[in-house]
């Protein structure tokens, strides 16, 4: 074999550029093992970047560019993410449905979050559209009644806002509280799109009303609970707190669980 033939064999040992295999895989819709893929998605909420792994959606964010998203993703979740040409069709449809409030059958990959964060987010997923719950409610429900502030922090770092509805968690004093995806104003907008009247909640809180009781069933609810909204005006009893409710003979609603149901 002469030099030219040796050189040609060398040419046959050239390696594909860094990241080539991952680009190929994402091009055919396969998420490379141990990685997340992401793509942008135009929605009524704005241009989103959505990341997913084999286990489900791992992140969603309003970011200006893919580079911004990749940087944020690496810092927040500590793993690599590769760009895909688009979301797989089914996933895109599911996300769009969920944003429009029509479907809740989404799978999430929360694997890189702490167990506490995972519990907070899974609990938050249970809050129905059109209703809100206080931070303290989430803390109590996951068995960490004193971790109210930590719940707020976990929700503030929610990597999948909108789809995991951290906007449905508000302060006990009636204020909406912070929102990572654009502040209280955006939170108010999203809630109002879901049928929650934030001003009404604030008025209730200003009057010192945290619960609503029913004279006919003797059950008390959080104000946005579907059961509370069914109470006729004549039968509604505004309640200040749990003690007052219990003393007046009301039991906590088993649906919205405004207090420990015992």
């Amino acid at each position: 074999m002469d030099l030219l033939e040796k050189d040609l064999r060398d040419l046959g040992r050239v390696r594909a550029p860094e990241g080539f295999a991952n680009r190929v895989l994402t091009a055919v819709g396969i998420v490379p093992g141990g990685m997340d893929a992401y793509a942008s998605l135009d929605t009524p909420v704005g241009m989103l970047h959505v990341a997913w792994s084999a286990d489900g959606i791992s992140a969603l964010r309003l970011t200006r560019s893919g580079e911004d998203f990749e940087r944020w993703f690496g810092a927040r979740l500590g793993r690599r993410v590769v760009r895909a040409p688009a979301l797989p069709e089914r996933l895109a449809a599911q996300v769009e449905e969920a944003i429009a409030g029509r479907s809740r059958r989404l799978r999430f990959d929360l694997g890189r979050l702490s167990p506490f964060e995972q519990e907070v987010l899974r609990k938050t997923l249970e809050i129905p559209r059109g209703e809100v719950r206080p931070y303290a409610w989430v803390a109590r429900e996951i068995g960490r009644p004193r971790a109210v502030r930590a719940v707020g922090t976990a929700l503030g770092h929610n990597p999948i806002p909108v789809l995991i509805p951290c906007h449905r968690v508000v302060r006990s004093d009636g204020a909406l509280g912070e929102y990572s995806m654009g502040g209280p104003r955006v939170k108010r907008e999203i809630l109002s799109r879901e049928g929650v009247d934030a001003s009404w909640l604030e008025e209730l809180a200003a009057r010192g009303t945290r619960f609503v009781g029913s004279r006919t069933t003797h059950v008390f609810c959080l104000p946005t609970c579907r059961h509370a909204r069914r109470i006729q005006v004549a039968n509604r009893v505004p309640l200040r707190d749990e003690t007052q409710a219990r003393e007046a003979g009301f039991r906590p609603c088993t649906r919205c669980r405004p207090a420990l149901v015992s």
Partner: protein
């Protein structure tokens, strides 16, 4: 390259397309990229050709029943797709006027004579020369000398008699020696 490994890959592929295909991409990304680089002469084209090859392979595999997938001769099958991708591109490209690459001097090529591996620039230049060969010679040289197929394998791949492939390789190498001057003397 391993017929045994190929059999394992196709068995995995017949079982599960996604994970099986991922294994194939990892096994074949370098050889197919090298093939594409030698055939097209430009790294940017090579990446497109190689990616296109995998995408077409994936599209085809989605329609194949498991039995057919298990019987695939993977190496030959992927090279066939890659050959088709290159031919289609060349046909498309030749509609536009592509200026002939002038023989660029090799920029940085001076590793010691004993550790004689071509520099990146020299490899690019070599790929460029190979890609400039007439089609028959180019395919024969690339399959036989770059990809390391036997004459018999290359003949099957190209659907030509072995003698034709041999003479195309021979003439291709001669042409390269003339044009290269050669690269080896530069380095």
């Amino acid at each position: 390259m391993g017929a045994e490994r190929d059999a394992e890959l196709t068995a995995a592929l017949a079982g599960d397309l996604a994970s099986g295909f991922e294994a194939i991409v990892h096994a074949y990304q370098h050889p197919l990229y090298a093939f594409a680089l030698a055939m097209s002469g430009e790294p940017a084209d090579a990446e497109e050709v190689a990616q296109d090859t995998f995408v077409r392979a994936h599209t085809a595999l989605r329609r194949y029943p498991p039995d057919r997938i298990r019987e695939l001769k993977l190496n030959a099958w992927l090279h066939q797709i890659a050959l088709n991708v290159v031919r289609n591109r060349v046909r498309r490209r030749s509609l536009r006027l592509v200026p002939m690459e002038s023989d660029m001097p090799v920029a940085d090529a001076s590793p010691g004579p004993e550790a004689r591996a071509l520099s990146r620039a020299a490899l690019r230049e070599l790929a460029n020369l190979v890609s400039g060969l007439p089609e028959q010679q180019r395919s024969a040289v690339v399959l036989r000398c770059v990809q390391g197929m036997t004459y018999s394998e290359a003949a099957t791949q190209l659907g030509q008699p072995e003698g034709t492939v041999k003479s195309n390789v021979h003439r291709g190498l001669q042409a390269l020696r003339r044009r290269a001057g050669s690269l080896s003397e530069v380095s």
